[in-house]
């Protein structure tokens, strides 16, 4: 299963081990782990709650993984995203891309994160020390980040 949406934590080392076990054509594994930062706009946060759209989230992540696999020669791909209540320092998301060579693995992992950030149906609500909850605003930079993945002419590579 290349996509998992879960409340449980994950272990990067264990996920990589399971994913690459016995595959000797892999030379490069890139992982991205997103974690809950301890403050937002200068104010300490005590927790972050992630809501998602069950069914659509998984479908959208599967589409993003399929796009990455069509674009780079990947030996293994994984996306794990948590939802529910998280604390500062907690893991939120794990992306893994494995390939023969490092550039494909790096690019695929960055691509997966860029599309996940602006397409996967998750919403973050931060709770500050005063007990107030704030929905996190989407960053324009995340939408802009997709521009670098615009389809390239086939001859350019």
């Amino acid at each position: 299963m290349k996509v998992r949406v879960q409340t449980a934590d994950f272990d990067v080392g264990e996920e990589v081990r399971r994913l690459t076990l016995g595959q000797h054509d892999i030379g490069a594994v890139v992982t991205f782990t997103g974690t809950v930062r301890g403050e937002a706009k200068g104010r300490p946060i005590v927790s972050m709650t992630l809501e998602h759209y069950p069914g659509m989230t998984e479908a959208e992540l599967e589409r993003i993984v399929a796009d990455a696999e069509a674009r780079w020669p990947l030996s293994a791909t994984l996306v794990v995203h948590r939802y529910g209540e998280l604390k500062p320092g907690d893991n939120i998301v794990l992306v893994v891309a494995a390939s023969r060579h490092r550039h494909a693995a790096f690019e695929a992992a960055a691509f997966l994160m860029d599309f996940l950030k602006s397409r996967a149906t998750f919403w973050k609500k931060e709770t500050t020390a005063d007990g107030e909850g704030h929905w996190v605003d989407a960053r324009e930079a995340d939408e802009a980040a997709l521009a670098r993945w615009a389809p390239r002419p086939a001859a350019s590579d």
Partner: protein, 85 residues
Amino acid sequence: MTVQIVYFAWVRERIGKPGETVELAPEVATVADLVRWLRAQGPEYEAAFARPELVRAAIDRSHVKPDTPIAGAREIAFFPPVTGG
């Protein structure tokens, strides 16, 4: 046409429910038409869709634009721009 509508994040909070089933007249042909129709259903909908450019939509679990026709849709979702990752 009968369609299931679902709401997420602050759209859900402002409307005060996670979803509902609605009966639509044939004039409600696109996502933008549906947003206009919903805004007329009460102040909580007006609050949720006050700035329609901040609300995204999906039909049957795929992202869509405001001008997408809704004919044949089973589930239409409204939500803020996503903030996962």
